[in-house]
C-alpha cells in the first residue's frame, strides 16, 4: 500500500477508469489545461488529451445536461463541479433530469453519470460557496450520494461511482484534499456504495459521521479515551444513499448511545433521517436520547474565527459525548 493524498487518490481513480473504459471522460471548468481548480485532475489532460479531459465554459446546466444526454448512449461522463455549491444553478439538470429519466421511461433509459467536486464549509468563502447538499441529493429517489473521508475511501468510492449505472454524486472536501493515507495500489480496488466503515471500535457510545466530520469524531474519540477512558465507536457512513442501516443499528445496539455528527444544517439534515431510523428500529436499546451535532443553523459566515465555531469540530464532539455520558469536566 502506498501513502498518498486524498487528491492523488481521486486522480488515480480517474486515471485508472479513463484507462479501463473508453467511454469515461471528465468534463468541467478548468479541468484540463488549467489542471483543475483544486488540482484533482492535474496532469491528466497531458496524459489523456482533449477527448478525455474536456474544459467546459461556465455553463453548469449546459454541460451537466450534455453529460446526461451523452450517458443515454453509453458514455460515462464524470462532471466536475469546481465547488458543489455551483450545482444549484443546474439543479434541474443535476437533480430533476438525472433522477427521473429511468423511472419515467419505465426502466428503458439509464443515466450513468458522476457529478463530483468539493462540498464543504470551513474555508472562509462565504455562504454562496459553502454548501453541503448531500442531504438534499439524498432526498431524491433515483440518486446516489457518497461522501468519502479518507484517501482510500475517496479512491474506492469514486471508482465504484464511475462504474455504477445510476447517477452518483461524489462529494469531496477541499479541506481533505491534502490529507495523506494508505491506499491500495490495486486497479480493482472498489468500495461498495452503501457500505459504512467502522473507523474505530468502542463500546461506550457510537459516533456516526460522514465526510470531514469523521476526522473530528476520531480526534475527539482519542481524547475521550485518553482523558476519560471512554471508548467511542466511530461509524463513517461513507455513503448516504444507499445507506448502511445494518452497520448503524449493530453499533447502536452494542453501545446503546448514538451521537450523529455532520456538517449539514440540522433541519432535514442526514442526521434527521438516521435519528429516525435509530429510534424506530433500536428504541429498546437506547440508554439516552440520540444527539446531533450539525453546523450552526445559519448561512455560512465568512469571518474566519467565527466560521470555526459554526462548523462541527473535535472539541464540540468531545464536549457533547461528555455531556451525553454525564462526565464532569
Amino acid at each position: 500500500m502506498a501513502v498518498i493524498t486524498y487528491r492523488q487518490a481521486l486522480k488515480d481513480a480517474l486515471a485508472e477508469e479513463i484507462t479501463r473504459d473508453e467511454n469515461v471522460f471528465v468534463m468541467g471548468e478548468e479541468v484540463a489545461q488549467y489542471n483543475g481548480a483544486y488540482k484533482v485532475t492535474e496532469g491528466l489532460w497531458k496524459k489523456f488529451g482533449d477527448k478525455r479531459l474536456v474544459d467546459a465554459p461556465i455553463s453548469e446546466a449546459g454541460f451537466i445536461g450534455l453529460g446526461i444526454g451523452a450517458s443515454f448512449l453509453g458514455l460515462r461522463p464524470v462532471i466536475e463541479m469546481m465547488f458543489f455549491s455551483f450545482v444549484y444553478v443546474a439543479w434541474d439538470q443535476a437533480v430533476n433530469n438525472t433522477s427521473s429519466i429511468r423511472y419515467m421511461s419505465g426502466g428503458l433509459i439509464n443515466c450513468p453519470l458522476v457529478i463530483r467536486g468539493p462540498a464543504n464549509g470551513g474555508t472562509n468563502v462565504g455562504a454562496t460557496h459553502s454548501h453541503t447538499p448531500e442531504n438534499m441529493v439524498a432526498n431524491v429517489p433515483g440518486l446516489k450520494v457518497v461522501v468519502p473521508a479518507t484517501p482510500a475511501d475517496a479512491k474506492g468510492l469514486l471508482k465504484s461511482a464511475i462504474r455504477d449505472n445510476d447517477p452518483v454524486f461524489v462529494m469531496e472536501s477541499t479541506l481533505l484534499y491534502g490529507n495523506e493515507g494508505e491506499v491500495p495500489e490495486d486497479d480493482e480496488f472498489l468500495i461498495p456504495l452503501g457500505k459504512a466503515d467502522v473507523k474505530r471500535e468502542g463500546s461506550d457510545i457510537t459516533i456516526i459521521a460522514h465526510g470531514g466530520c469523521v476526522l473530528a469524531a476520531l480526534k475527539a474519540a482519542e481524547k475521550l479515551k485518553k482523558e476519560h477512558n471512554v471508548d467511542c465507536e466511530v461509524v463513517d457512513l461513507r455513503s448516504i444513499r444507499p445507506l448502511d442501516k445494518a452497520t448503524i443499528l449493530k453499533s447502536v445496539k452494542k453501545t446503546n448511545r448514538a451521537l450523529l455528527v455532520e456538517e449539514n444544517k440540522p433541519f432535514c439534515g442526514v442526521g434527521a433521517q438516521i435519528s429516525h431510523i435509530i429510534q424506530r428500529e433500536a428504541f429498546d436499546y437506547l440508554d439516552a436520547p440520540v444527539h446531533r451535532i450539525s453546523a450552526v443553523d445559519a448561512p455560512a459566515i465568512y469571518s474566519p474565527p467565527v466560521e470555526k465555531v459554526q462548523v462541527p469540530n473535535a472539541e464540540q464532539v468531545f464536549n457533547e459525548v461528555r455531556h451525553m455520558l454525564q462526565i464532569k469536566a
Binding site: G65, G69, A70, I101, I109, N110, D244
Partner: protein, 379 residues
C-alpha cells in the same frame, strides 16, 4: 363582423415570414423530395392523419375522465414531427418536450402503448410511470418526452456529443417551443454545440404561443425571427413554413447534411400552429386568440390538407383513398382506446421498480445497504 386580417392575428405579429402563403411545390425538386417514392409520400400522409386521429381519440377519453394530468395536443403541427423524422437515418436521434405524441408516432411507436400510457396503464410505453409528457422509445432512438421547458435542450446536445465521441456519423434533432427559447439552458446549449462542433439540430416549433403568451409578448427578436438568435453563437439558421411537408423535409435535410458533413449545428424555426389549447386544461384559449385566427390557420395552412392537396395534384391520392386512410387511422385509434381500457394498472409494487438500475439488476453493481426508506409500505 370582425375586421380581423391575418396581419392583426396575435400569433402572426412579428412573424411576417410565417404569413407568406407558401408555394406548394417550391421545394418539390429538392433532392430529398425528388427521391421520395410514392409509398414514402403516402406514409407521411398516413402518419400525419394517424397522429390527428390518435389525439382526437385521446381527447375524447380525457373528457370522459379516463386520464389524469395534462394532455398537450399536437394537432395542427403534424408536418413538423413527420417531416423532420422522415429524413432521418439509422444513426440519428430525436428528443423533444412534453407535446410529444406526434414525435412518438412519427418514429414508429404504436398507438396502443401510447394510449395505454395516457391511461396510466402498465402496458403503456413507460409502464404508466411517465404519462402524456414522458414518452420514450430508445430502441427507436426517441429519447422523450420532457416536461420541463427547455430541460431537454442540453440532453439533445449530449446525444449528438456521444455520436461524435464514438465516431458515428449521425445527428440529433432536439425540438423545443417558441417559449422555451427564453430559458438560459437553451443558450448554454447553443454555445456548447457551436463551440464544440456538435451535430445537433434545434427545431423551434413556433406555434405562436407559450401557454397564453404570444410570441411578441414573450420574446425580443429581430425581423428574421426567433431562430436568428443562433447568429450570436455563430450557428446557421433557417425558417420553415411548417404547413408544407416538402419544405420541412428540404430544410431539415440540409441541416442533417450540415451535421453529417461538417459536424455543425443548425437552428430551424418552423412556423406552425396548435388548434387546441395549450393543454386540455386550457379553457382560455379562445381569449388570448380569436376564433377567426384559429379558423384562418385551419383553412389556409393545415398541414394535412396542404400535403393532401400536393399529393392529389401529383396524382398519388384521391378522395376515396383519403377517406380510406382516415378511416383506418380512426379504427386504429379506437382499438388503441379499447386496448388501454382493458389493460391493467401497474401493481403498487411497481412504485419501487425502475428507480435504480442497481436495484433492478442485483449482482451487477458494487452496491450494498438500504436504498429506499419506507417504514412501512402502504400495500
Amino acid at each position: 363582423m370582425s375586421t380581423e386580417t391575418p396581419e392583426t392575428h396575435e400569433f402572426n405579429k412579428g412573424r411576417s415570414r410565417a404569413l407568406e402563403k407558401s408555394d406548394l411545390f417550391a421545394h418539390a425538386e429538392d433532392p430529398v423530395n425528388k427521391g421520395m417514392t410514392v409509398q414514402e409520400k403516402l406514409k407521411c400522409f398516413t402518419d400525419m392523419v394517424r397522429i390527428r386521429k390518435f389525439e382526437q381519440a385521446a381527447l375524447q377519453s380525457y373528457q370522459k375522465g379516463k386520464m389524469g394530468g395534462f394532455l398537450h395536443l399536437y394537432i395542427g403541427q403534424e408536418a413538423t414531427a413527420v417531416g423532420t423524422v422522415s429524413v432521418l437515418g439509422e444513426n440519428d436521434h430525436i428528443i423533444t418536450a412534453y407535446r410529444d405524441h406526434g414525435h412518438a408516432l412519427a418514429v414508429g411507436m404504436g398507438m396502443n402503448e401510447c394510449m395505454a400510457e395516457l391511461y396510466g396503464k402498465f402496458t403503456g410505453c413507460s409502464k404508466g410511470k411517465g404519462g402524456s409528457m414522458h414518452y420514450f422509445a430508445p430502441e427507436k432512438r426517441f429519447w422523450g418526452g420532457h416536461g420541463i421547458v427547455a430541460g431537454q435542450t442540453p440532453l439533445g446536445a449530449g446525444l449528438a456529443y456521444a455520436l461524435k465521441y464514438k465516431g458515428i456519423k449521425g445527428c440529433a434533432i432536439c425540438y423545443l417551443g417558441d417559449g422555451a427559447i427564453n430559458q438560459g439552458v437553451f443558450h448554454e446549449s447553443l454555445n456548447l454545440v457551436s463551440l464544440w462542433d456538435i451535430p445537433v439540430i434545434y427545431v423551434i416549433e413556433n406555434n405562436g404561443y407559450s401557454m397564453g403568451t404570444s410570441q411578441v409578448r414573450s420574446s425580443a427578436f429581430p425581423e428574421e425571427g426567433l431562430a436568428a438568435r443562433a447568429t450570436s453563437y455563430n450557428i446557421d439558421f433557417d425558417t420553415v413554413h411548417g404547413e408544407n411537408l416538402y419544405e420541412v423535409r428540404a430544410k431539415t435535410s440540409k441541416a442533417v447534411q450540415r451535421a453529417y458533413e461538417q459536424s455543425r449545428p443548425t437552428v430551424l424555426e418552423i412556423f406552425t400552429y396548435r388548434y387546441y389549447g395549450h393543454s386540455i386544461a386550457d379553457a382560455n384559449h379562445q381569449r388570448y386568440r380569436t376564433k377567426e385566427e384559429i379558423r384562418h390557420y385551419q383553412e389556409n395552412k393545415d398541414p394535412i390538407n396542404v400535403w393532401e392537396q400536393i399529393l392529389i395534384e401529383e396524382g398519388h391520392l384521391n378522395v376515396d383513398k383519403v377517406k380510406e386512410i382516415d378511416q383506418a387511422a380512426k379504427a386504429e385509434a379506437k382499438e388503441a382506446v379499447q386496448f388501454a381500457e382493458e389493460s391493467p394498472f401497474p401493481p403498487p409494487q411497481q412504485l419501487l421498480a425502475d428507480v435504480y438500475h442497481s436495484v433492478d439488476n442485483p449482482g451487477t453493481h458494487t452496491n450494498e445497504g438500504e436504498i429506499f426508506f419506507n417504514d412501512r409500505l402502504p400495500y
